[in-house]
């Protein structure tokens, strides 16, 4: 089972929930954490994995052999991302814009474009106290997170309960991360910002056809409109984590919640059971 942990709004507690869930389940399950927030991966701060393996992630970008190029301009015309321009007798390539689709090299009539790998990030693998750990790290200055996310997802394995930490927002990195999950936990906070971004996140997971449930973090801080929304939309509210200086203090120091306050372990074990029930019920009634 793959459980994604997403949020819409940033800083609502995705990392807190993902790491607590993983640490609570590890005694009864084979658990893998996949940190797909490749722009700002944070699970490693809490889980402190020993990294044993680093695999660079490449995007294929064009290199034009200008000795043989006839400057016909086909490559620039077919590039949908304006990553290649032909101006008089010069070809300019903008690797940051390139999506690596391969159209330019395939369609070049002179066959003078080769694709060279450009490193855009790295996937790191290791072990954290019995948890299998994978994270993607986007290189500073690189724009495109999805290829790094795809590489992290390649380590998915049916033998594991996979907890996947997702970046904030609702755009392509979020969709890429959530795609293929069995369930999406949406972590929010009970404020107008939390609610506004939660609604967007719910629409996103609905678009992907993935069942979701909600965790309210810092419960008590704002108003009750998030809880009202869950009732109105029929989305299960699975867990409330109260506003607590103890919890905030543990997090600020990088100490796992379920280590500092072991009484929370049962809540996360129960959370996984509820998720499993929702997923299996849905699988037996696929039309819903």
């Amino acid at each position: 089972m793959i459980i994604s942990v997403a949020s819409g709004k940033g800083g609502t507690g995705k990392t807190l929930v993902a790491t607590s869930l993983a640490l609570s389940l590890k005694d009864g399950h084979k658990v893998m954490v996949q940190d797909c927030d490749v722009e700002e991966p944070n699970d490693h701060i809490i889980l402190k994995p020993v990294i044993t393996d680093r695999e660079p992630v490449f995007n294929l970008v064009p290199r034009v052999d200008e000795e043989k190029c006839t400057y016909c301009g086909t490559c620039a015309r077919v590039c949908a991302f304006n990553a290649i321009a032909v101006i008089n007798e010069h070809v300019l390539v903008f690797p940051q814009m390139c999506h690596g689709c391969g159209a330019c090299s395939y369609l070049c009539p002179e066959k003078v474009i080769t694709e060279i790998p450009k490193e855009i990030g790295v996937v790191e693998r290791g072990e954290a106290d019995g948890i299998s750990f994978v994270q993607g790290v986007l290189t500073i200055g690189e724009a495109m997170a999805p290829p790094v996310i795809r590489k992290v997802k390649e380590y998915s394995n049916n033998d594991y309960t996979i907890i996947r930490d997702v970046s904030p927002g609702t755009s392509c990195p979020v969709v890429e991360s959530i795609k293929g999950s069995d369930f999406c936990l949406l972590v929010t906070e009970p404020t107008p910002f939390g609610l506004n971004d939660l609604i967007l996140a719910v629409e996103t997971v609905k678009e992907l056809g993935i069942p979701c449930g909600i965790v309210i973090n810092r419960a008590g801080v704002g108003d009750s409109k998030v809880a009202d929304y869950c009732v109105k939309e029929g989305i299960p509210l699975l867990l409330n984590i109260p506003l607590s200086t103890d919890i905030a203090s543990l997090y600020s120091r990088g100490i796992p919640l379920v280590e500092g306050m072991p009484q929370w372990r049962d809540s996360f074990i129960k959370l996984e059971k509820q998720i499993k029930e929702i997923v299996s019920e849905r699988n037996s009634n696929p039309q819903r």
Partner: protein
């Protein structure tokens, strides 16, 4: 006209609360929300929308099944695995158009995407340019570029002194698009280990693109050891820490009331520190 972009790396550190307060404190400016996939600034500024524009960007492949001879070439060459059983998954399609160029029977056309909307609104603090990226859309960086372009045009027309821009979290495409060509980046962080980690990465991004950065430590008193660590790190990097905002529940209360905190609680320490912060920004950029 000087553009100040507020970033953080980590989400939820208080970017929008800082920008909402700058909306009150800074005179003669244009406001812009560059967090186009989870925009929140409008929730503090109560905007009245004057202009509502469609944002068309990118394309999606569509296969005409009447023309398709199921040769499978498109499926083989698509690097994004977006075509299965001679059908395009629009969520996986990146719109490169490779398939449409190589289809031998011209069964594939590229259709334009309505990727979102952008708005020009009036607020009592001045004009606000904001946007809404459609759910699960790509091209957030392009929409950011569009709202910034619109904000600059308004700022030029009105002879504004500043553009204040609420940036997205992270360090990827929309952040780079928010940052390029800005006068300075104001980085809002919090004294948690993840806040520090993400601040370090976003400082590197600013340096990579040659944009000077300044740091505001929000909730600095929730972990003083970590706040000292941030100060030491910034000193080593030659980055000024220009504000230390204490933790106070008035910040959340202000959000619940839909108001900038400096207006909701003008006597609070938070407000005093935000006023100092703007004085420090002015010292730096003038």
């Amino acid at each position: 006209m000087k553009e100040i972009v507020i970033l953080s790396g980590k989400g939820g550190t208080g970017k929008t609360s800082v920008v909402g307060s700058l909306a009150v404190l800074v005179k003669n400016k244009v406001l812009v929300d560059c967090d186009v996939d989870a925009a929140d600034l409008h929730l503090l500024l109560n905007p009245e929308t004057k202009e509502d524009n469609e944002f068309w960007s990118g394309q999606t492949a569509v296969i005409d099944e009447n023309k398709c001879i199921q040769c499978g070439l498109c499926q083989d060459i698509c690097r994004f695995h977006a075509i299965k059983n001679y059908k395009v998954d629009p969520l996986s399609c990146e719109g490169c158009g490779f398939c449409s160029h190589i289809c031998k029977v011209e069964a594939i056309t590229m259709q334009d995407n309505l990727s979102g909307y952008w708005f020009v609104s009036d607020t009592k603090y001045g004009p606000l340019v904001h946007a809404r990226l459609n759910i699960a859309e790509e091209n957030s960086g392009k929409l950011v570029a569009e709202v910034r372009k619109q904000a600059r045009q308004i700022a030029e027309k009105q002879n504004s002194d500043y553009i204040i821009s609420d940036g997205p979290p992270g360090i990827g495409c929309p952040v780079i698009s928010s940052l390029s060509g800005a006068r300075i980046a104001l980085l809002v962080t919090e004294p948690t280990l993840s806040g520090i980690h993400d601040l370090e990465r976003v400082i590197s991004v600013c340096r990579h693109f040659g944009i000077p950065a300044m740091v505001c430590i929000n909730k600095y008193d929730i972990n003083l050891d970590n706040s000292h660590q941030i100060e030491n790190f910034c000193q080593k990097q030659g980055v000024y820490v220009i504000a230390r905002i204490p933790f106070d529940t008035v910040v959340t209360e202000a959000i619940v009331h839909g108001m900038p905190v400096v207006e909701y609680s003008p006597e609070s320490k938070v407000t005093g520190e935000l006023q100092n912060m703007w004085v420090n920004v002015l010292d730096f950029i003038t």
